[in-house]
């Protein structure tokens, strides 16, 4: 068994001492003697993991265990994921997670037979692999009760799908937009013109102003902006700028 030399950044959130059972669901009170179920939480940022963990732990049956994306990648590289095997389900917030992390997550869940519950943003999940994974997808706007219900369902082997996703997705269905290119590939595939447009979008210029600055038509600008959004797998201009800043496309 390979020993990990780097400290794994798995944090177990402290269970609430005296949880208040939700008044809407009496069946959540655990049976005496039943051990709490561990639900893994994977998200890009500590604050996200803490928030999702707090929502999950409103249900006294569950205890949340936060896992950083680095840990997922490390586990997939050393082919050991014993910690995941002990979990009942893993909640994955797809926001700002690299495609490599998502793929690693799917592989690990498959090999350990642990169901995944995905949180999708703007109705879409990046990556084809995720739509084939066992488990379910809910909107990132889901509240605590919905998340808990969804986790219960995927634990029972059911597939969960959130109808709100269709309202959010611009393309109409979560599986419709698939980005199979790895993040670095997408970065290289932005044309020089697309990079120029992205720089101007990052400056906050509206499309008309971008058109004037570059000497092209409004229509062409809109076309370039859509192309950039698709290549970066971003749901909005703000998201595109965030992704571009973090992956080193935009100069500062």
């Amino acid at each position: 068994m390979p020993s990990t030399t780097t400290a794994t950044r798995t944090a177990t959130l402290t269970p609430v001492d005296s949880p208040t059972p939700s008044t809407s669901n009496v069946s959540r009170i655990p049976m005496p003697g039943m051990a709490r179920r561990v639900i893994g939480i994977v998200a890009a940022y500590p604050s996200l993991r803490a928030g999702l963990g707090a929502l999950i732990q409103q249900d006294p049956r569950f205890v949340a265990s936060a896992i950083s994306p680095d840990t997922i990648l490390a586990w997939s590289q050393i082919s050991t994921s014993a910690a995941i095997a002990g979990m009942d389900a893993v909640l994955v917030d797809s926001r700002d997670l690299a495609p490599e992390t998502l793929d690693a997550m799917v592989q690990i869940a498959h090999s350990e037979n642990v169901p995944l519950l995905w949180l999708a943003h703007n109705g879409r999940l990046p990556g084809a692999a995720t739509t084939n994974a066992p488990g379910g997808i809910v909107s990132s706007r889901a509240d605590g009760d919905t998340l808990i219900a969804a986790i219960g369902a995927v634990r029972a082997g059911l597939r969960v799908y959130d109808p709100d996703l269709e309202l959010e997705a611009e393309t109409g269905s979560p599986g419709a937009h698939v980005a199979t290119a790895p993040m670095t590939g997408a970065v290289q595939s932005l044309s020089p013109r697309e990079r120029e447009v992205l720089e101007l979008v990052a400056s906050g210029l509206p499309n008309k102003a971008i058109a004037r600055t570059l000497g092209i038509s409004d229509h062409t600008v809109k076309f370039h902006v859509s192309s950039v959004l698709a290549k970066l797998d971003a749901g909005s201009r703000t998201e595109a700028v965030t992704i571009a800043s973090r992956t080193g496309i935009l100069s500062l």
């Binding site: 940022y45 680095d70 210029l205 703000t238 800043s245 973090r246 080193g248 935009l250 100069s251 500062l252």
Partner: protein, 306 residues
């Protein structure tokens, strides 16, 4: 009870504050489902603009704005500040009632209200206190000043004002910046952003000519000056840029600027405000594992050639 006695009741004072600001609070229809709130204020040339949250504005033209007096006007997007989630709109109508500012940052503990007008019929308000001023969600002290309060942001409140007990606007509320929190952009920044957009069409910023990617610092390099465990790897340097002239090299890791830690690209962006143009900045870097200092003077971001 006479009017005087009624109005001296502290509870009524907050209702008065809402009444005072209401004429300048508008409804902004800029996206499919939920409208947002905006404020109208007068700028230097005596014209009025409407400022709201950028994430509330998904269209750029023919934005429907509902005023407090019941009128509906259309507005056009002039520009955005994505790093502050602000959008500045110009309406065709010139006689918009405006709000008044409270330019000094409120103190921690000041009682404040968030005012929203998602439904044009009447304003809504929630009450809270200023919890903190600054960046409380990050270990790092760098970054723009934000006002953190515990007001409840009801749906559609983004883009609306945070007011004090006198009805003066301390800032614009948004839920679109930090994912787990609602914050308020101080009105002084709102005005500076608006001034730039009106004068230049965009918010000016300093530029040094690097593309960067956040990286974790090797263990032995951490914590010399500060507690940071990440830095910015320089993955690209533009020809002839301030970074190039200062001798920065590909592979250098930027760890601090002006003694503030640099953990991700946003930290660097916030350090390169327009006030830094022409002012030398001291960058702490890691080159080959050795800490060094490089002085770089930002210039104004060059426009892409057409």
């Amino acid at each position: 009870m006479t009017d005087d006695l009624q109005r001296s009741n502290i509870g009524e004072q907050f209702a008065d504050a809402v009444e005072r600001v209401t004429p300048g609070v508008v409804t902004v229809h800029g996206r499919r489902r939920l409208p947002g709130t905006g404020i109208a204020f007068t700028v230097d040339d005596a014209s009025t603009v409407i400022v709201t949250a950028s994430h509330v504005v998904e269209r750029e033209d023919n934005l429907a704005i509902f005023l407090a007096d019941g009128r509906k006007v259309t507005a056009t997007l002039l520009g955005r500040d994505l790093s502050r989630d602000l959008a500045v709109l110009r309406s065709e109508t010139t006689d918009l009632a405006a709000v008044s500012d409270r330019p000094q940052l409120p103190r921690v503990g000041t009682l404040v209200m968030a005012v929203g007008r998602p439904w044009a019929s009447s304003p809504q308000a929630t009450l809270g206190a200023v919890n903190a001023v600054g960046q409380i969600h990050s270990r790092r002290a760098s970054g723009i000043q934000l006002i953190h309060t515990d007001v409840t942001m009801l749906p559609g409140f983004s883009g609306g004002p945070l007011i004090d007990a006198a009805g003066n606007v301390a800032g614009i509320n948004t839920s679109g910046l930090l994912r787990m929190a609602n914050i308020t952009i101080p009105i002084s920044q709102v005005r500076a952003v608006t001034a730039d957009i009106l004068a230049y069409g965009y918010v000016r910023s300093g530029w040094i000519g690097v593309t960067v990617q956040p990286v974790a610092l090797p263990a032995q390099a951490r914590g010399e000056v500060d507690e940071s465990d990440s830095g910015l790897l320089v993955s690209g340097i533009a020809d002839g840029s301030p970074a190039a002239e200062a001798g920065l090299l590909l592979g250098d890791i930027l760890v601090s600027v002006a003694d503030q830690p640099l953990g991700d690209a946003t930290d660097l962006k916030h350090a390169l405000g327009s006030e830094q143009i022409g002012q030398a900045l001291e960058f702490g870097i890691l080159r080959g594992g050795v800490r060094q200092s490089v002085s770089i003077t930002p210039i104004e971001r060059p426009e892409p050639a057409s």
